[in-house]
Symmetry: C2
Subunit: 446 residues, 2 copies
């Protein structure tokens, strides 16, 4: 074990070393903070990071363990939290000047759960403005002239650059999958309602998901297992038996999975790199993959997604609109203005259609396929910081509330990472991770 | 036992006699059908009633019982079903010429449950057009020149006139409470989501409730206990432990209940009869009732109710609007037209405000009161058949999804019945029935 590189350990490995007493939470945190000092000047992944506070929490975790009390599955593991998710001990500014210096006395549900599992909340990672598309300061860790993607820009970049093993983000269109793809990490958007959202800034009840970032499938499973649950304050969660994500994700599938390769109407817009990489992937999978066309009903999904997102955004940002619209970015103002014009009829019809669209996919999974295989983004991270990229390959799955995983398995000609996206049926989260692991094992090692 | 008056038995009594073999389901049905022949020419409560089919079902119930198999709590008891609720063996025309002769091969969830409990589905009762406010043919059983109220007109009138002991209706504004009040029966609108709605015409997911009609609290409890449940097709229901409604409703409250008399801003519009009757009721209750003012936030409830109802109605009637709007009544066309103009923003804000309004009531119940006491309608049934009356005293409670019971305890100077409405906290349905029974016992016998 190279103690200077503890920051690159997986969360599962780190937790085990802490549990065994081989590494202290403080040592782990110090190495992560060293890494921040080393690389964050260029990357700028953090909206708030107080090294002393982070270390004090790590010390408390060590003291707790030494007291002999039982410890949780993430004991001593640093986790970064997207700055739209409330923390009682750090500001939560939501990427907007309207909330500069905003503090709250209450942890979001996911933060409270993480603390209960022993995690050390390291700091807050940069979000775009209210988790929408207006870019923030973070840069791509692979090339600072490129966007890290958004809106969970800081979370993806911090995990990718070894500053922290785990991070929480969110996704309303492609805000987890896209930055994960651009930064070269695993990004997981679980089934809508799997992870409770109270204390996370609500942009769109219908579309908002908590997103997870890690550098491996095991860690994604560990984080999902910790956070899945019921919260009566989130009407889209429901009580269910605990899913052993870690165990299921490690299992060998009883049969080799069959993938549905779905190009979507946006395939034409994908980069040459993406098309080439997917052709190669298809070749590797041979008979285990079949190309599947979207049903005609699904073609309206992008439009429906926009209708729902804009309408709900306008509702959830109405206080900000009324009191401080001059502090919203011009881009966001345009979105809110459009949202305020949406008719309740169009909104309801979009919601109703999205259920019908999902029914089509449910059928596909029930009859034949284990997972949908599709790009995570049009290509590698675009150059420049004026846009966080296009969520074209995400909106459909987000609309349907299906679990989606971006896996850093490909590379563009420019050397930047390119994600493979796997999508499963609702509530098939753990099996999707198992399928993902099978896929990784199937590919030729580089 | 006067065998010619079996139609006036309560459902609980009838079920017991059938169980004991003292009365057959066929005899019970015959007496109910006799009553229909006697009075329905004037009342016109039925949209569909095939006496032979009703008797055949009763015969099947008798055969089943004689076979020695275990029987359900409503075995052999006739039940009437509002004509917006699907039945596999009878047409469901939804009070609209668009659906004349419409049949379906599937029972609504509640109908299937009733059949499972042994009930005999007697026929379909008249609904106003799509359960909205356009009147239909039914007349008030106490005076055919007066409206029976709506939209569950036939259900209320059929139970009131002794044609059937139990009936199902629905409520989106005041469609159960108002006709119950006008016809002089018990009408119960349980907590939103307590009783599953699949197979009932959906007017407004947020506001639609299944409504229950009977001539006594015991029967309301029996029906509620039978029908409460989870249905995965109705996202507003949830799994919960079975509530022993019948047992709870029969219990003596551990302490005498305290009532909050809420006049609402519509009190001024109430008839002199209503004001007088409530003054007397207040006198009878003495210290057990306190007048409580609505919170300012609740004042917007009627407006919010209209926004939500019109918007959702426009959505749920969009197919009818597009294909056959000339077959909608002019009144309904106006409603749909308004609904189509509602903004998604206004709609969402109304939904959000309604949650806040309910929180105010929840507080009231948690701190001090057992039930809210309020009129069921402005007064007795208005003369004429061109309107079904005003839901002013219902919309607020419907908006909040709170359980509400109309009790036929008062009378106007014209001799027509006048309902007392009790409203409880969400999920306090069984206790509300217990409180209601206490109130009945407290009043001087006439």
């Amino acid at each position: 074990m190279d103690r200077g590189k503890l920051n690159w350990l997986s969360a599962a490995e780190a937790a085990q070393l802490v549990r065994q007493g081989a590494v202290s939470a403080q040592e782990l945190m110090k190495v992560c903070l060293d890494r921040v000092r080393e690389v964050d000047g260029k990357i700028q992944a953090w909206a708030f990071l107080d090294p002393d506070h982070a270390l004090a929490q790590a010390r408390a975790a060590d003291d707790f363990r030494l007291s002999g009390q039982p410890i949780g599955p993430l004991h001593g593991v640093p986790v970064a939290i997207k700055d739209i998710i409330d923390t009682a001990d750090m500001p939560t500014e939501r990427g907007s000047p309207i909330y500069t210096g905003r503090t709250t006395s209450r942890d979001a549900a996911v933060v409270a759960t993480l603390r209960g599992a022993g995690a050390v909340i390291m700091g807050k990672t940069v979000t775009t403005e209210f988790a929408t598309r207006t870019p923030a300061k973070t840069r791509n860790p692979h090339d600072p002239d490129h966007t890290p993607g958004g809106s969970s820009s800081g979370s993806a970049a911090a995990v990718a650059s070894g500053m922290v093993p785990l991070a929480l983000g969110s996704q309303t269109s492609g805000s987890t999958i896209r930055p994960a793809s651009f930064c070269g990490v695993y990004g997981f958007k679980p089934t809508h309602g799997l992870i409770p959202r109270p204390g996370m800034f609500l942009l769109s009840r219908t579309l908002d998901h908590v997103g997870l970032f890690a550098r491996g499938i095991d860690d994604i499973a560990l984080l999902a297992e910790t956070l899945a649950g019921y919260d009566e304050r989130d009407p889209d969660t429901r009580p269910r038996a605990r899913v052993p994500f870690v165990e299921v994700a490690r299992e060998e599938p009883p049969l080799p999975p069959l993938f549905a390769f779905v190009k979507t109407p946006h395939w034409e817009r994908a980069d040459g790199d993406t098309k080439e990489a997917f052709a190669e992937l298809q070749g590797n999978l041979g008979e285990r993959v079949e190309e599947v066309e979207l049903l005609p009903s699904a073609m309206e999904a992008w439009e429906d997604h926009r209708t729902i997102m804009q309408a709900e955004m306008a509702g959830n940002l109405s206080k900000e609109w009324e009191r401080a619209r001059e502090l919203l970015s011009p881009e966001l103002r345009v979105q809110v203005e459009s949202g305020r014009e949406v008719r309740a009829l169009a909104y309801q019809q979009a919601v109703a259609r999205s259920r019908a669209i999902y029914d089509g996919f449910a059928e596909l999974f029930a009859q034949r396929y284990d997972a949908i295989l599709t790009p995570a983004a049009l290509g590698t991270a675009p150059k420049g910081l004026t846009s966080t990229g296009d969520p074209a390959f995400c909106s459909l799955w987000t609309l349907c509330g299906m679990p989606a995983l971006s896996m850093p398995l490909l590379q563009g000609a420019n050397g930047l990472p390119l994600g493979v996206q796997l999508v499963g049926p609702r509530d098939g989260d753990a099996r999707l991770l198992r399928t993902a692991r099978w896929l990784v094992g199937r590919l030729p090692a580089e």
